[in-house]
């Protein structure tokens, strides 16, 4: 349709251009990047100054740039221009950003020493929180949390008209900041094992690997409690909570991967493919990963029970392969690096074994569904376009069917962007949830006298 070339635009030529505040914001981001460059090259000035000036300028600048943009737009105008901007439609900026983030992950995972200058920048923060100097994982955690905070502020503004979105966004910010950053750091300060209470097997498989359990056992202190927590969350909390709320209690409210996707990844939701082909690939991949991690875990325990006699080092090798392929390349490099190209839920949709487990429960044994409001759907496609999981929501909505898909994370954005208020996330009785409102109205259809039979009347249900 549109022949505009928006590949270098950040916001599209919609009402109101980047104002003075936005320009100052971009300038501050640039200055912050320069400071970080200095830090990375081993600038030699105090790390504290670098930390405040580098990330500080970037955060302040990003907020100054992003917030007015969303603040001056009303609820239904928030996605105006998304399809005109190269940044959000795989334009030059998007590819550049994708390569930069992917590259950062490659360095982080395999050549962290190249980031030494940046890591030193976080020493003051790490010393204060953990009592030890920063390492590359601490630096990563700090950046990650900052991204969730800044882009979380953006999401709060963008969705300020929708209380479900506000509360959900506050939830992911809280769980990232407190449970995935401050608590693990504090645990280290008190010489306890570094433990993430919001990650469970199979997303964090190590917690239920023999080695993981053993190391928690040996650590003493809170270690035994952590083992019980890990077992309880995987085997009790996961099925029970998913029965009541669907997988959203985790994927779009608690999980850190989800937290980043819902905040930093929000500008990219329209990039998830809704094609039938991608759905097929998704099913093959995600259940293969689940199978892989389940077999790995089983092998490790069998081997451990047999004191290594059975498999020797083979099962350990299985676990290492999983760690490299799935934990490293998939969840990190591809999962986040490809945000600007494939959308923010690549890992959650194609790879996460936790999502696979939750999805199976959601599909077959849960009270959660997205209800379609009768025959009001006008097939516009906003729901499908902005579904970060690539679910073709419209396919169901336009035939008046409820939407119950294993991959749905319950973010609620389909309901938010629908211009006719057709969709609503609900928990209710399992009975009848698959065919909640299967008509676009009812009409009395009269079957006329035919072949000697008298005229009959019958309710015709318009299905789609």
């Amino acid at each position: 349709m549109s022949d505009r070339d928006g590949s270098l635009q950040l916001t599209g030529t919609m009402s109101g251009d980047t104002g003075g505040m936005g320009k100052a914001g971009i300038a501050a981001v640039a200055a912050g990047l320069l400071v970080m460059l200095g830090a990375a090259c081993g600038g030699g000035i105090s790390p504290m100054l670098f930390m405040l000036a580098g990330p500080g300028l970037i955060v302040a600048g990003a907020l100054a740039y992003i917030l007015p943009h969303h603040l001056r737009r009303s609820a239904s105008a928030q996605n105006n221009g998304v399809m005109f901007s190269g940044a959000t439609t795989r334009g030059a900026i998007a590819w550049g950003l994708g390569v930069a983030i992917t590259g950062f992950y490659v360095l982080l995972y395999w050549w962290p020493q190249t980031l030494a200058g940046l890591i030193r920048m976080f020493d003051p923060l790490s010393m204060r929180l953990r009592g030890i100097p920063a390492d590359h994982w601490f630096m990563y955690g700090a950046f990650y949390t900052l991204a969730v905070l800044v882009m979380g502020a953006r999401a709060l503004l963008k969705y300020r008209h929708n209380r479900y979105q506000i509360i959900r966004t506050l939830s992911v910010i809280f769980f990232q900041l407190v449970f995935a950053f401050l608590i693990p750091a504090t645990l280290q300060l008190f010489k306890q094992p570094e433990f993430y209470f919001t990650y469970f097997w199979p997303l964090k498989p190590y917690y239920l690997f023999p080695d993981g359990v053993k190391s928690l056992e040996m650590a003493g202190g809170l270690g035994p409690f952590m083992i019980r927590w890990a077992v309880m969350m995987t085997f009790v909390a996961t099925p029970v909570l998913t029965y009541f709320f669907g997988k959203r209690w985790y994927c779009s409210w608690v999980c850190g991967c989800g937290g980043l996707a819902e905040t930093a990844g929000d500008p990219y939701r329209q990039l998830a493919s809704t094609s039938l082909r991608s759905w097929k690939i998704e099913r093959w991949m995600i259940y293969s990963v689940l199978l892989f991690i389940t077999i790995t875990t089983a092998l490790l325990w069998i081997n451990s029970a047999a004191q290594g006699a059975l498999l020797g080092g083979a099962s350990r090798g299985f676990a290492d392969v999983y760690g490299f392929l799935i934990g490293g390349i998939f969840s990190g490099v591809v999962g986040v690096g490809f945000y600007p190209i494939m959308g923010a839920r690549v890992w959650c949709r194609f790879g996460c074994p936790m999502a696979a487990v939750l999805g199976i429960i959601q599909k077959y044994y849960s009270r959660f569904r997205i209800t379609t409001n009768g025959g009001q759907c006008i097939s516009c496609g906003n729901c499908s376009t902005y579904c970060e999981m690539g679910i073709d929501v419209r396919w169901y909505a336009q035939r008046g069917e409820n939407i119950i898909r294993a991959s749905c994370v319950g973010c609620g954005v389909c309901a938010n962007v629908c211009p006719r208020g057709v969709l609503s996330l609900e928990n209710g009785p399992m009975e009848g949830r698959y065919n909640g409102a299967q008509f676009v109205g009812t009409a009395e259809v009269i079957i006329p006298a035919l072949n000697g039979e008298p005229e009959r009347t019958r309710q015709l249900r318009y299905i789609d």
């Binding site: 349709m1 549109s2 599209g12 030529t13 919609m14 009402s15 009303s74 609820a75 239904s76 105008a77 996605n79 105006n80 221009g81 998304v82 399809m83 005109f84 901007s85 929708n162 209380r163 479900y164 509360i167 094609s275 039938l276 209800t371 409001n373 009768g374 025959g375 009001q376 006008i378 097939s379 516009c380 496609g381 906003n382 499908s384 376009t385 419209r394 396919w395 336009q398 609620g412 962007v417 211009p419 006719r420 208020g421 609503s424 996330l425 609900e426 009785p429 409102a437 676009v440 109205g441 009812t442 009409a443 009395e444 259809v445 009269i446 079957i447 006329p448 015709l460 318009y462 789609d464």
Partner: protein, 456 residues
Amino acid sequence: MPTVSASITDFDIMDHVVIIGNGVAGITAARHIRKLSDRPITVISAETDHFFSRTALMYIYMGQLTYEGTKPYEDDFWPKNRIALVRGRVERLETERRRLTLGDGSEIEYGSLIIATGSRPNMFGWPGETLEGVQGLYSIQDLESMERWTAGITRAVVVGGGLIGIEMAEMLYARGIGVTFLVRERNYWDTILPPEESLMVERHIRSHGIDLRTATELREILSDAEGRARAVVTTRGEEIPCGFVGLTVGVSPNIGVVSGSAVECNRGVLVDEYFRTSIPGVYAIGDCAEFRDPRADHPAIEQLWYTAKMHGETVARTICGIPARYARGVWFNSAKFFDIEYQTYGYVWSRLRETEETLYWEHPDGRKAIRINYSKMDGRLLGMNLLGIRYRQDVCRKWVEEGADIGTVLGNLSEANFDPEFHRRYEAEVVRLYNERNPGGAVVVKRKGMLARFFS
């Protein structure tokens, strides 16, 4: 170039169903004929290769959706379902030979023909209505032309205060183009909306900086030296400079395809309740069809998305040998005025009838309202209007259909609420308002316990 995605050969020509128009009516008919039979189906469109959602045109212009995103089905859906798609304009219809001739001279023979050609924007012969930069908004070509004529302009005028008018105003507003909105009525859409709702929408339109002028009509459009619109003159004699004029004064059935044929027309193609026209084997559905004998309080021409779907599904049955008479059922509709969603169920007339009583509640923020109309005589629910609040169609339809008593409706009003979780609910306030006015017959709302609510 015609796009044929499935070859049509080797069949009895009398089985061949040809549908003119790939909008929602025609496509729904095609899909349901395929569900019910193996008959060869051909859909002809002059507009696009594939079915897209016309209602989403505005979102393409505003940059929320791509054209691809407005297609409800993937492109290979059609060959998979053996529905042949032909791109072309029908130039001639010969009903006695059951034959169509397309613009490129090719001919298509049919056994059954469904005319589903939709609407076209009304023009009332205003001076200057054919100038460049003056147009309606209905087709994808209209959108392309709007894209072209609004590029780089700073002011536009939209004429006509219906649903397309306000959509066009929102589109232009989204592009940072100043809009003057001329509305003939005393208040916006007050032929449909009761005064309170109409005024609320008016306030909301103005809050976006739209220059809304009610009780004002278009007198003429002025041209610049190049034959392009440069200003409009209103019936009040004001001249308003602008680079673009949107004419959104309703649509009429697009029946050019049957002109010169034997098919009988009035404003639309005349049909009975089976969508049969005056010629055997020829049917008409959707916006272009006009009922010969519409039921009481039913419009003769239904121009809605959902009615088009119902028409398509009904005619598919008739064509496949299970004749079905169309009866729409309880009226409903929904729209959106900038940020305010609107839903209506049953009948809420713009002016209250003598036999009707109304209960109108409005939120102090002036952006949410609930109206419930019921019969003075027996308290039977007649209809509801919702602004800024979503209600459940299923529940409202059932109440209207059964003629539920106002007491029952109010006592169970929270069941009808469809707003997202954690949103504030206003049903209690509506009931309080009713009870204040009817101290004798106060409604008591039974509350469910916490646990019961959790498990229900």
